[in-house]
């Protein structure tokens, strides 16, 4: 999106939050906390998309990678009785799913959209088949309050009193921004996604770079899945990623393939959800619940339609690299 519009929009949102805080502090805090929690998996999933597409690989299979990791993470945590172990199993599963996409799109040079779709369908099938009822998590992850910072009005309770996943998501977005734009790895990754033939000439191993990046990105999708099952829902249900993997792709595009842009886009997305569900529970307007449910999907399409043509994807995205 055009940077100026982003700043104007951001300014309005911040002004709105301050006005709302002055009117009703508790409710504003709860809406903002909800928004941030809603944004966490979207931030993480958008980072997956960014890493893959910056390396030149479309990852339409984030949804399936998340679903599979949520499944493995939940049952891992329930069976081992350890939430951290569950999260690790989720991340590991995500990496395996990432490697799956890497093999399909890099090694076999399959059509990347079809490879991703296969991941989605396979994940839906496997998790539905092996789904079992009656498992519970051994507890809940503690929230960690940052000393001093947590006492800042408004920002403190919203930003500095969260679960570990929330801090991890924000940290990953910031680190990824630094890695992409300030390090050699980032330069190589971006060059492989923009002009792989030039990267090849300068001695970068294009398939290897893509393979490693896509696999590691899968680990982040695994973290997003683990968050959904272990922290957000505390359970696993069939198909419960509910399209977040696709929404994350829209957020990635809305954030112009920039980790920080995507992070703010995801929080904006969460904010619309927070406000909508607050309005509904307050019964300010008579909104049928179905319309609240479809809001994220409608918004995804609107965002895509609004920004398309204003941002450009990495030039080589979607194209298997063929040495000439």
């Amino acid at each position: 999106m055009n940077a100026r519009w982003a700043y104007i929009l951001g300014g309005f949102i911040i002004a709105g939050i301050i006005v709302s805080y002055a009117m009703d502090a508790n409710r504003t805090e709860s809406v903002l906390s909800f928004s941030l929690r809603y944004a966490v998996p979207l931030i993480l999933a958008a980072m997956v998309g960014i890493i893959c597409e910056r390396s030149g690989v479309i990852n339409i299979g984030i949804e399936g990678q998340m679903l599979m990791s949520a499944f493995a993470g939940f049952f891992g945590a329930a069976l081992t009785g350890n939430l951290i172990a569950g999260a690790m199993i989720g991340v590991g599963t995500g990496m395996i799913m990432g490697a799956f996409l890497a093999v399909g799109s890099v090694t076999w040079k399959m059509d990347q959209i079809i490879a991703g779709t296969i991941i989605n369908i396979l994940a839906t099938g496997l998790t539905s088949f092996f789904y079992a009822q009656g498992y519970v998590l051994p507890g809940v992850m503690p929230t960690v309050a940052v000393p001093l910072l947590k006492d800042i009005p408004l920002l403190g309770p919203v930003l500095f009193n969260n679960g570990l996943y929330t801090y991890a998501a924000i940290l990953i977005a910031v680190i990824l921004w630094v890695l992409l734009f300030k390090t050699i790895w980032g330069l190589r990754t971006r060059s492989v996604g923009e002009k792989p033939s030039a990267s090849d000439t300068s001695g970068i191993n294009v398939p290897r770079t893509r393979f490693i990046n896509v696999t590691l990105a899968g680990g982040i999708a695994g973290l997003a899945g683990a968050y959904l099952a272990i922290e957000a829902a505390g359970t696993f249900e069939r198909g419960f990623t509910a399209g977040r993997g696709f929404t994350a792709l829209a957020i990635m595009i809305f954030g112009a393939w920039n980790p920080l842009g995507a992070m703010f886009a995801a929080i904006f997305f969460g904010l619309t959800q927070g406000v909508a569900s607050q309005l509904q529970s307050d019964a300010v307007f008579e909104i049928p619940p179905q319309f609240v449910n479809m809001l994220p999907y409608v918004l995804t399409i609107v965002l895509l339609a609004a920004v398309s043509g204003r941002v450009s994807p990495p030039a080589a995205v979607g194209k298997p690299y063929e040495k000439d």
Partner: protein, 371 residues
């Protein structure tokens, strides 16, 4: 610009390859899907065996209940009908370089549209059935056109929009069936029953809808291979730049292809409503999921081959309930078998192994991403 720009859309199937020629040379295009299905069945059998059930017995239960009794056969035909049509919907999209993952949503639009047209009007039988069916198709086409127009004019990837439109459709029809179109004085949300004049009859033991779906598939076989419009679809799908040079309006073709694709899925929903369920109820048409994609890729985007592919999927789907009843195996095993079939048929695993060929052509649809 070479004529076969691999980054665009190289379907890699369906059209006779001049270099192969002869029945033996074309063998792989038939052998590959069959081999994929067999290997998927073997892996599925392994899963069943791991659950402590004899896989041969399990498959025998599935196929004998689905195909061995008149009622079973009727169920298979009823189940296969929307599958043929959604498979065709995906096929038509693929031919024009579009990946329509939204057949489910378009089917729902068609199903509720036909239900409304079926109960809200009174007219003679000769008009009512075609009217309700056409209205269902129109609803499906309109729903898909949202994605088509966004793709043509805003370059928004239809992959994301169609899947989002699926979720929106699920919520929307749920709302329609619970509020404006709801049958009055009923605790459950569903539409009133369609008028008798709108109900699709059966031809003896064969549902009319099934016959209709096969005729539509044959028509599209002819349409895509033999007509100018079909040629336009294929050209845009194979190389949109070449199509533009040849004077074909790429935008119009994309919108048209998406609308036709949606109309086909909508027809599937309309037949379901008019011929099987008799009304729209949100739970009825759930869970069609991604079967259309599996069918289209299994049939290698060939409309006529979509018929047997859909019947196979329909047989598995209708046998799954009996499988659970007899052996306790979850019916979701079918989802795994179908997903594996898709994996084997679309990824070059089986092809490499069977034919020892390094450069197996795989399906391509990637085009117009993001910007």
């Amino acid at each position: 610009m070479s004529v076969t720009d691999p980054s665009k859309t190289d379907l890699g199937f369906s059209d006779p390859d001049p270099q192969r020629g002869g029945p033996l040379g074309r063998l792989p295009s038939i052998v590959l899907p069959i081999a994929s299905v067999l290997i998927a069945f073997a892996v599925g059998g392994l899963l069943i065996w791991l659950q402590g059930v004899n896989p041969f017995y399990a498959y025998w239960v599935m196929f004998s209940t689905a195909l061995g009794t008149p009622e079973g056969l009727l169920r298979v035909m009823e189940k296969s009908t929307p599958l043929i049509l959604t498979g065709l919907a995906v096929t038509v999209g693929l031919r024009a370089g579009l990946f329509n993952i939204g057949a489910q949503g378009q089917l729902l639009a068609g199903a509720i549209g036909a239900a409304w047209a079926g109960y809200a009007f009174t007219m003679p039988l000769a008009f009512h059935i075609p009217f309700a069916m056409a209205f269902g198709m129109l609803c499906g086409a309109a729903w898909a056109s949202i994605a088509g127009v966004l793709r043509a004019y805003r370059s928004v990837s239809e992959v994301i929009t169609t899947i989002m439109l699926n979720s929106i459709a699920i919520a929307l029809v749920d709302y329609l069936a619970s509020k404006p179109f709801k049958e009055p004085d009923q605790p459950i949300s569903r539409t009133p029953e369609i008028a008798e004049t709108a109900a699709l009859p059966n031809f003896g033991a064969i549902p009319t809808g099934f016959v209709l779906a096969i005729l539509v598939a044959l028509f599209f076989g002819w349409f895509l291979m033999r007509t100018t419009s079909g040629f336009r679809f294929n050209t845009v799908g194979l190389n949109s730049n070449a199509a533009r040079y040849a004077g074909i309006s790429v935008k119009r073709t994309i919108i048209l292809a998406m609308a036709v694709s949606g109309a086909l899925a909508g027809l599937g929903g309309a037949i379901e409503t008019l011929g099987v369920t008799g009304r729209f109820e949100p739970a009825f048409n759930a869970g069609l999921g991604f079967d259309g994609i599996t069918i289209a890729l299994l049939a290698r985007a060939n409309p006529i081959a979509a018929i047997p592919a859909a019947i196979l999927v329909g047989t598995l789907r209708s046998g799954a309930a009996a499988l659970q009843f007899e052996t306790g195996i979850e019916p979701e095993v079918v989802d795994v078998i179908l997903a594996l079939t898709l994996l084997f048929v679309a990824a070059p695993i089986v092809g490499r192994f069977l034919f020892r060929k390094r450069n197996i052509k795989t399906t391509r649809v990637t085009s117009g991403w993001g910007s």
